[in-house]
Symmetry: C2
Subunit: 364 residues, 2 copies
C-alpha cells in the first residue's frame, strides 16, 4: 500500500506497547484473533460476511441489548453464554480471555463510550466511523487506548479495496500529474425510513449524511492528494422531507481547499443515491463509480478501465488488523485512531462552515 505523503501519524511502535499487550500477543501466536461484536445492527450483519471470509479472525463474543439478537447470533456462531454481554455487564469482559478485540458497531453516539470501556477492559478496539462527534473526543479515545496498552483502529474498509489503493497510487505518485480537482459524493435516499430511526436523531447520530458518510469523501480526497486541507466552505441544502429531517441535515455540500491549490467538492445527501469519485490531474483523470460504498467498485482512468478483483473489504480489513495484532505489530497508520481524528477535524470544520456561512481555516 502506498504511503507517499501519508504520514504514519500516531501509530504505535512495538517498543511503546506495554508489557501486558506484548505478552498477550505472544500467547496468540498461531491462533485467530477473537473478536466480540459490540452492537448487532445493520453493519454487524454486513460484517458477518467479512468474518466468514476472514482467515485470521473468529467471532468469539457479542454485546447487545436485545435478548432475541443475542440468542440468534449465539446460535449462528456457536457463542457460549459467557461470551455474550449486555451493555450493562459489558465491563466484565475484562476478565474474559476468550476475547482479544471489541469491534464497536453501535450507533455513532456510543462509539466513544464503548471505546473507552473496551480499552479499560484491556481489549483492542476497532470502532466504526465516525470515530466520534468531535476531534477532542477522538483524541480522548486515542489517549485512553494508548494508556491501556491496546491498539485502536477505525473501520476504514476502503484502504483494503484495490480500487482505492490504485486511487492513492495515481494521486500521490502523480501518475497523471498534479491532481487539481476532486469531486467525491455519497448519499442514500432515506425516504421511507421510520421517523424514529437513530440516523435521524442528533443525540445518537451526531448529524445527518455528513456525519454518517462524510468521512469517505473527506478521507479519499486526503489520501489521493496526500495532503491535509487548509480551509473549507460548506452549505446545508434544503429540507425536502421535513417529517424526517427535524434534527439532522438532509444534505450538505462542501469544498475543501488543499495546500497544492487542489479543490475537492462533495455532496453528502439523504435525499438521493449517489456514489462517485473523480479526480482531474494535469494529464488525465481517474474515477470510480460506485466509489465509496461496499462495492463492487468500477473504475477507469482517462486511458483505460480498471481491472481489479472484487474483494471483501471487511474480510481484508479484519485480516490485516489480525495479522498486525497477532504479530504484536502496530496497526497501519491509515486505519489508526489518528486518521479518525484528522477526518473528524475536517468534519467539524465542514459543519462550522455550513452553520456560519463563513470559510473555516483548518490550519490553526
Amino acid at each position: 500500500m502506498e504511503q507517499i505523503g501519508w504520514g504514519l501519524g500516531a501509530s504505535l511502535t512495538l517498543a511503546s506497547l506495554p508489557a501486558m499487550a506484548r505478552e498477550r500477543a505472544g500467547v496468540m501466536d498461531n491462533k485467530k484473533l477473537n473478536i466480540a461484536l459490540c452492537g448487532l445492527g445493520r453493519y454487524a450483519n454486513v460484517l458477518k460476511g467479512g468474518l466468514a471470509a476472514s482467515q485470521s479472525c473468529r467471532l468469539a463474543g457479542i454485546v447487545t441489548g436485545t435478548p432475541t439478537k443475542a440468542a440468534q447470533w449465539q446460535s449462528e456462531f456457536r457463542i457460549p453464554d459467557k461470551n455474550s454481554y449486555t451493555y450493562q455487564n459489558f465491563d466484565q469482559i475484562v476478565s474474559n480471555p476468550d476475547i482479544d478485540l471489541v469491534y464497536i458497531t453501535l450507533p455513532n453516539g456510543l462509539h466513544k463510550e464503548f471505546t473507552l470501556r473496551a480499552a479499560k477492559a484491556g481489549k483492542h478496539v476497532i470502532v466504526e466511523k465516525p470515530m466520534a462527534f468531535t476531534e477532542k473526543d477522538c483524541q480522548e479515545m486515542i489517549d485512553a487506548c494508548r494508556k491501556a496498552g491496546v491498539q485502536l483502529a477505525v473501520g476504514y474498509r476502503l484502504h483494503y479495496d484495490p480500487h482505492h489503493i490504485e486511487l492513492k497510487r495515481l494521486g500521490q505518485h502523480k501518475v497523471f500529474g498534479q491532481v487539481r480537482l476532486i469531486e467525491a459524493s455519497l448519499g442514500y435516499r432515506l425516504a421511507g425510513i421510520p421517523p424514529d430511526d437513530w440516523h435521524l436523531k442528533k443525540a445518537i447520530a451526531g448529524g445527518g449524511p455528513l456525519m454518517n458518510l462524510g468521512v469517505y469523501c473527506v478521507q479519499s480526497s486526503r489520501y489521493v492528494l496526500g495532503e491535509e486541507p487548509v480551509a473549507v466552505t460548506a452549505q446545508f441544502g434544503p429540507v425536502t422531507m421535513p417529517d424526517l429531517f427535524k434534527e439532522v441535515e438532509e444534505n450538505i455540500t462542501w469544498q475543501l481547499y488543499f495546500p497544492s491549490g487542489a479543490i475537492c467538492t462533495s455532496s453528502c445527501t439523504s435525499n438521493c443515491n449517489v456514489d462517485r469519485f473523480y479526480a482531474s490531474a494535469d494529464e488525465g483523470y481517474f474515477e470510480l463509480q460506485p466509489a465509496l460504498s461496499y462495492g463492487p467498485f468500477k473504475g477507469r482512468t482517462s486511458q483505460a478501465a480498471f481491472n481489479f478483483p472484487v474483494v471483501n473489504q471487511q474480510a481484508a480489513q479484519l485480516d490485516d488488523i489480525a495479522r498486525h495484532i497477532l504479530a504484536n505489530k502496530p496497526l497501519p497508520a491509515h486505519i489508526s485512531g489518528e486518521e479518525g481524528r484528522k477526518d473528524m477535524r475536517v468534519i467539524e470544520g465542514i459543519y462550522q462552515a455550513a452553520t456560519s456561512g463563513q470559510k473555516v481555516d483548518l490550519t490553526s
Copy 2:
C-alpha cells in the same frame, strides 16, 4: 425536442414579426440562409465544419479586423470583397442584400455592441455565449432585435445534440423519478496560454471560466430540471497561476437551489480539464462524460449506455435556425435571447454570491 416545463420564453410569434422581415422571409424561399461570420477567431474556425456540413446555410460574408484573415477566408469561401467588412465599416452591411444573418463570434465583450449594430442593420443575429456580461445588457439586446424586426439566437449548440435532448427527456419526464442532485462541471487547463490572451482580460472576457463556460453547467441543470433556480451560493477557488489570473477568476464552484429542492453543484475551472454531467433521480441516474464540450459525447443511465449518433452540433444548430428563419417562423425558445438572459441572470448571481460570500436570492 422535449419542451415539458421549459417555457417558450420571449420567442416571437409569426404575427409579431414586422412586415419587412416577413417579406424578406418570403424572398428567401427555396434558398439558403446567407450568413456573415463576425469575428474570425477560434470558434469561427470550429464553425467552419458546421457551415460545411450545413444543408441550409451558406457563408456569404465575413467581418474581421485582420486583413490577412479576410484574404484567407475570402479565398477559402469565395467571398467577394463587397461582403467582407471591418469592424469600422460593418454598419454598411445594412444595404447588402447578400447577407441575411450575422453570426457574432467575437470576444465576449463585443457581443452586445455587434448585436445592436447587426440588428440596426436589419440582419438576424446569432450571438455566441455568453450573450453579454449582465442580464440588463441581454434585455437591451432582446429589445433591440425585436424593435428591428430581426430574430435573435444564442449559439446554444447543446440543444442539437441527441445526448442532451435525451438528458432533457429523462429529467423533465421524470423517467427515473424526480432529479435530486446534479453535478455539472466544465474546465480547460489554460497553463501555457499567452498572458495577453483576451480570455484573461476582464474588460473583454467579462470574467474567467464562469463567464466563458459557466452557461453550459447552468443551462443543462435548468433544462434537465425544467425549473429556474431560486438561490445560489458560490466560492472562488485559489489562484495557482498568479501570472495569468490577475484579472479574472482561475476557478469557481457554485451550488444552485431549485424550487423542487434539487441542487446542482458545479465547478468551472481554468486549472484542469473536466467535462462531466451527472443527475441522480429517485430511481436511477444518468450522466455524460464528455458532457458539455463539442463532443463526441458518451453517456449512460443506471440501466444502459446511451447509443446516439455523433452529430455536428454546429451544423444541426445552423440548419434549424435557417429552417425557421427561411420559413418565417419564430426561433425555438431554447436558443432564444430570453434563454441567454435567464442564464446571465444566474451567472450574475453566482459572481455576486462568490464575491459576497452570501447566498443570493434569484427570485426577486
